[in-house]
């Protein structure tokens, strides 16, 4: 029997249909392991004092930071249950979009049926250019560094803005962006504020050793899997669950391709030996 040669387009089409399109129509609910770090993050957020202030900030590119949103959205939902105040600090131009998107997607605001009100429960600060200098300046004197919010309203005119003085007012820093190192160095390393990163998969292997450097101060989850774990703990099914379905099927298809490749190779080898 002649084994047909596969065009790369056919391979891609098969992968697209099986791994990405099918789980979109029919959620498979494939199982995934739970990590102790994700559990620790969940418990830490639950243990934060009610009404305390958490900063969500950092720098990165929206398209890739979307992976971090899978874990950050459930985290925001937990914080909303505890009435924890949220201050968004973008250190990159595209971070402004992502942080606003995170609040919208979490559906915690009154316009979505939640309890959060802008200026009282959360604030979106403007893009802060010049990190790490600007970040250090922000931590030392928030209002001098960011006198207004992203819309140009002075912080002193908002109830939450009035509470912001310096890093001592911040109980936790969540980084939903690529550049977690800057946050670790200046926020956790120098000022001992715990930090959490719902890291992108590619960043996880590079930055995860910092969890050894600052045990119980620096926490990281791994990509969409971390997102799915947070969603599971909160009791929701979002982007994390959807992607895990695709990834699990992708792994199965990958194995099938490995088996098919080996079978083809063995068949061709036998043919060549017969010819000889």
């Amino acid at each position: 029997m002649k084994i047909p040669e596969l065009k790369s387009q056919y391979v891609w089409a098969t992968i697209m249909i099986l791994c990405y399109i099918l789980p979109g129509f029919v959620p498979l609910g494939t199982p995934f392991p739970m990590s102790t770090t994700t559990m620790k993050i969940y418990n830490m957020i639950q243990a934060l004092p009610d009404d305390s202030i958490v900063v969500i900030g950092g720098s990165g590119v929206f398209a890739f930071d979307l992976e971090s949103s899978a874990g950050t959205i459930p985290a925001i939902k937990i914080m909303a249950q505890k009435h924890i105040k949220i201050v968004n600090l973008p250190l990159a131009t595209e971070a402004v979009q992502l942080e606003k998107y995170l609040i919208d997607a979490s559906r915690i605001e009154k316009k979505y049926g939640g309890t959060y009100e802008y200026g009282v429960d959360w604030i979106q600060l403007p893009y802060l250019a010049g990190a790490p200098g600007a970040l250090v300046s922000f931590l030392n004197d928030i209002k001098r560094t960011c006198p207004t919010d992203v819309y140009g309203t002075p912080l002193d005119q908002m109830p939450l803005g009035q509470r912001l003085k310096d890093y001592k007012d911040i109980v936790l820093w969540i980084c939903p962006h690529w550049d977690f190192v800057t946050i670790i160095q200046y926020v956790t390393g120098e000022r001992k504020i715990p930090s959490v990163s719902f890291a992108q998969s590619a960043a996880y292997s590079t930055y995860s050793p910092y969890m050894m450097t600052y045990p119980d101060k620096v926490f990281m989850t791994n990509g969409f899997l971390g997102g799915a774990q947070m969603e599971y703990l909160v009791g929701m099914k979002g982007l994390g669950h959807a992607v895990i379905d695709g990834n699990q099927v992708f792994s199965a298809v990958f194995l099938i391709f490995v088996v098919l490749g080996n079978v083809t190779w063995l068949a061709n080898k036998e043919k060549k030996e017969d010819k000889k």
């Binding site: 387009q9 891609w12 697209m16 791994c19 990405y20 399109i21 979109g24 129509f25 959620p27 398209a63 890739f64 979307l66 992976e67 131009t93 595209e94 402004v96 979009q97 403007p126 893009y127 802060l128 250019a129 010049g130 790490p132 200098g133 250090v136 001098r144 960011c146 006198p147 207004t148 919010d149 992203v150 140009g152 002075p154 670790i184 160095q185 200046y186 390393g189 120098e190 992108q200 998969s201 590619a202 996880y204 292997s205 590079t206 050793p209 910092y210 050894m212 450097t213 600052y214 045990p215 791994n222 990509g223 969409f224 982007l239 959807a242 992607v243 379905d245 695709g246 990834n247 992708f250």
Partner: protein, 211 residues
């Protein structure tokens, strides 16, 4: 139900255009690529201009007159586009690099050098306590850290006595680095695969209204 929002349709069209690259380079992909690039640049410019307004608010109200220094330094950077006076831009750039280097040096020494050394020593102590699984985990971490370090320390090829042992250590360090690179590559593949899934999910759920 299929979405009636025109922006969702724009998003869906550009997503499909991006995926056409899988069949080969074509004009639809180029359209999506150029649209994305121009939107990102346009957004960055607008956000940058808004920043001027919000950051210099206390200067205009007279609360922080010293901000005039930052504003002047910022204007000086624009001279980079004017070859004859480009040297003026070197002054604010020198200030930025100087402050950045000073801050980074301090933080890097604390976190990356002393922090990593402290963590490795601490993990070495933990090899002898805890459950067997934890002990193996700590052992691997410490041995791999030392292995990678040895690879960089002994990049000079030693000859004579002891060269065999050093060579084995160096080779081990090389494999440790390869494992790290493999992990990073694998994680990157997972990330791209996940982002593709999220884009298709958006098409199926937000645009077509399934799921």
């Amino acid at each position: 139900m299929i979405s009636a929002d025109p922006w969702v349709w724009v998003s869906a069209f550009l997503t499909i255009c991006s995926f056409t690259l899988l069949y080969g380079d074509n004009k639809l992909f180029r359209l999506a690529e150029y649209t994305f690039t121009s939107v990102v640049i346009g957004h960055a410019v607008v956000v940058g201009l808004q920043t001027l307004n919000t950051r210099f608010y206390p200067l205009f109200t007279g609360q922080q007159p010293l901000l005039i220094i930052s504003l002047v330094l910022g204007v000086m950077t624009l001279f980079i586009a004017w070859r004859k006076y480009a040297w003026i831009a070197s002054i604010p750039f020198a200030v930025i690099v100087g402050i950045g280097a000073g801050l980074s040096m301090r933080a890097a020494i604390t976190t990356d050098i002393f922090g990593s050394i402290r963590a490795t020593i601490s993990e070495t102590g933990k090899i002898f306590i805890g459950t067997p699984t934890d002990q193996v985990g700590y052992l691997i971490r410490v041995v791999f850290t030392l292995g990678a370090m040895v690879y960089f320390l002994f990049t000079i090829f030693v000859k004579g006595k002891g060269s065999g042992a050093v060579s084995y250590l160096r080779t081990f360090g090389k494999y440790v680095l390869l494992i790290y690179l493999g992990l990073t590559l694998g994680n990157s593949a997972m990330q791209y695969s996940g982002l593709a899934t999220s884009a298709i999910n958006r098409l199926i759920r937000t645009w077509l209204g399934f799921g």
